[in-house]
């Protein structure tokens, strides 16, 4: 690599202490970043528990997307647990989670209720036709009347409500296989045990 006459004299290197401290610092920093990266997939990590968790779900009455003359309210849904999924046809992330949600809904373990938020009914219907409708029922909240009560910050968001109408689990952002397996299913098991 270098010509012999430029070989270093042995005493010329950096102080060993400095090198060791530097190396430790570097390794520590990389370790910390690695930890951060591992946690970055976990949407819940910075979410302080939602104010709704373990509290009653908000009361609401909304028309059904497929038949606006029929109104469905929180009272009708009570009795068995349900999963409320906030989505909109304008929401690209909702499309990302749609296959995951569909796969989960097909297990029929729990009712999956769609909460169509701030959407045009025609767009929403076309969207469901195109990508498939996994929902037990779809509620249409065109003006976002109850979204504030649910504390919805953006779509998609998913809530697990138990048979007594108590919110037990919440997820912000698109569902993934991992989140379903590691978070939703354990939460659902707990809900089912309580019934």
């Amino acid at each position: 690599m270098t010509t012999p006459n430029r070989e270093p004299a042995p005493q010329q290197g950096l102080p060993v202490v400095a090198v060791v401290i530097g190396a430790l610092f570097f390794v520590g920093l990389v370790g910390l970043m690695l930890y951060g990266v591992m946690r970055s997939g976990d949407a819940e990590r910075d979410v302080l528990p939602s104010a709704l968790i373990d509290r009653p779900a908000p009361e609401f009455t909304l028309p059904i997307l497929h038949d606006p003359s029929v109104q469905v309210g929180s009272a009708e849904l009570r009795g068995a647990p349900y999963l409320l999924n906030v989505w909109g046809s304008w929401c690209a992330a909702c499309r990302d989670e749609h296959p995951v949600l569909t796969k989960f809904a097909e297990t029929r373990r729990v009712r999956v209720v769609g909460y169509n938020w701030k959407d045009e009914p025609a767009d929403a219907l076309r969207w469901l036709e195109q990508f498939g409708n996994p929902f037990f029922v779809v509620l249409a909240d065109q003006e976002g009347r109850y979204a504030l009560d649910w504390g919805v910050a953006g779509a998609p968001e998913t809530f697990l409500v138990d048979g007594n109408g108590i919110v037990r689990w919440k997820h912000t952002g698109p569902l993934t296989e991992q989140i379903v397996a590691e978070r939703l299913l354990p939460a659902l098991e707990q809900v089912e045990r309580q019934q």
């Binding site: 010329q12 530097g22 970043m33 951060g36 997939g41 929401c91 195109q130 953006g154």
Partner: protein, 640 residues
Amino acid sequence: MLPELGQVLLVLALLVALLQAVLPIAGAQRGNAAWMAVARPASFAQLALVAGAFALLTYAFVSQDFSVRYVATNSNSLLPLVYRYTAVWGSHEGSLLLWTLVLACWNGAVALFSRRLPEPVMARVLGVMGIVAFGFLAFLIFTSNPFERLIPAAAEGRDLNPLLQDPGMIIHPPMQYVGWAGFSVPFAFAIAALLDGRIDARWLRWTRPWTNIAWAFLSVGIALGSWWAYYELGWGGWWFWDPVENAAFMPWLVGAALIHSQAVTEKRGSFAGWTLLLAIAAFSLSLMGTFLVRSGVLTSVHAFASDPARGLFILVFLGLVIGGSLLLYALRAGRLEAGAGFQPASRETLLLLNNLLLASACAMILLGTLYPLLADALDLGKISVGPPYFGLLFFVLMAPLVALVPFGPLARWQRDQASRVVAMLLPWLLVALAAGVVAFFMAPQGAWKSAFGVAGAAWVILGTARFVWSRLGNGGRMTPEMWGMVLAHVGIGVFLAGALLVEAQNVQREVALRPGESLQVGRHEFVFQGVDQLRGPNYLADRGHVLVRRGGRELTLLHPEKRAYASGGQVMTEAGIRPGLFGDVYVALGESLGDGAWAVRVHIKPFVRWIWGGAFLMALGGVVTATDRRFRRIPQEKSP
């Protein structure tokens, strides 16, 4: 087919970068001229390929091709044309492509302007830049492909984040990236010097303008980001110590230290090892900044979780580049020649202090930025480190630096008498202190901060003027390098006055007003004239009308807005601002409170423009310094 072509161009660029990373460096080590000669054409080819890919993505946005996932996610048929261009870098994939393009531009510029360098130096520098480009292109292609198709295509796009639909956001990210990526040049030079095993003042002189230009762009980028936050977020603040801001600020601080230490090493041969370490640090921090902003490791404005695969990829790349550089440094730095010695009272000592203070400030910010993550990792709970920590420590570390600024240019190299410089500056110190005392008693509030701001600014500006005076008075000549230094130091003074005066004398009121009601704040009277509806291209706005009178005379009519964007229903605040050299009047519209009443937030912000003015002066100083012809003359013999 055009998006696929874009993807092909990126893959070709990756291959070219690989070629550029391997052959020239190997050629330089073995003395193979043909291999070294690959460096330049490869750099130009890489620039052409990446620019082509960028143009194709831009075309996809302009032509509203919603079959491209990235376009569908970040654009919308209602989006005005200018924002379709800027939406290209509105999100992760496109930002990364812009980063890569900017890096390729620096790469091309180095290839173009390195003709006076000896072939092995040029080959190593371009080779190292090829390694960096390879990493970014691989990251882009394997984890963040902007050309990925959406099948079936979307009928309508989702829309660009409304926060980014703003003129300030058009130029802020490119400036920022030009600065960040620009530090790859001194970095590549440092690695080349370490590979070669010696640092030569002649080649170091060649890198100085590059560092200055990169630093100037970063200054402008940070200032624009701050300005944008000021008028777009509606809080009236200009700096929040947010992780993303810190990520940009850390390389800026180290870059400022690097500019100074490069000058010492070039002129005196001292600090050679330290200069190389700073060059490595500045670029490593730029990379880390990109990593922190892009990986979702630190939550700041990121709402959703990101893909850990991305973070992992860039972390591995980061670890290899930074770890490899530091390893090389540890192996080779010890054998660098020590420069001329110097005494405690000398310009070298002052520049050493400058470097230590800037580096400590950077370390302090790094600690504060990463501490919440560390606390989380050690299970100490959720902790956030906020402005009280950063503000106090930054003040403590920067106050001595401000005190020392005027001494630096006046002190002689190697050996000086402290009493000589002190005698030159003493009258100006007294003038500055007197100005501070006047400010203390005149300030309506925040007396101490006002006094520090005025005294500090006067001291830095007068002390710098004293340098110009003594230089010109002795029949000396001012080189562009000196003018650049003077401009940047005056910029520090201007910034200091702005930052401390606005912190001290900012007045803020939040009130409910009905149409016709008014609010008196000091000499200003705000008359609320009501709210009407305004239809924008892709939003609906509530627009307030607020008449401002100063001392009874009509000053201006302000129109703060609250915009609800058609897609997603996000609400954005557009503050109504009357800018002024000596202070802004700032009105933001809050919530409607019913009965025609609205929450209205009013700020009086004295001297706030000076903050950005100071930053632009610093940037201008960097550019003026870079124009010094001395840097472009590379003497054939090694300078003594």
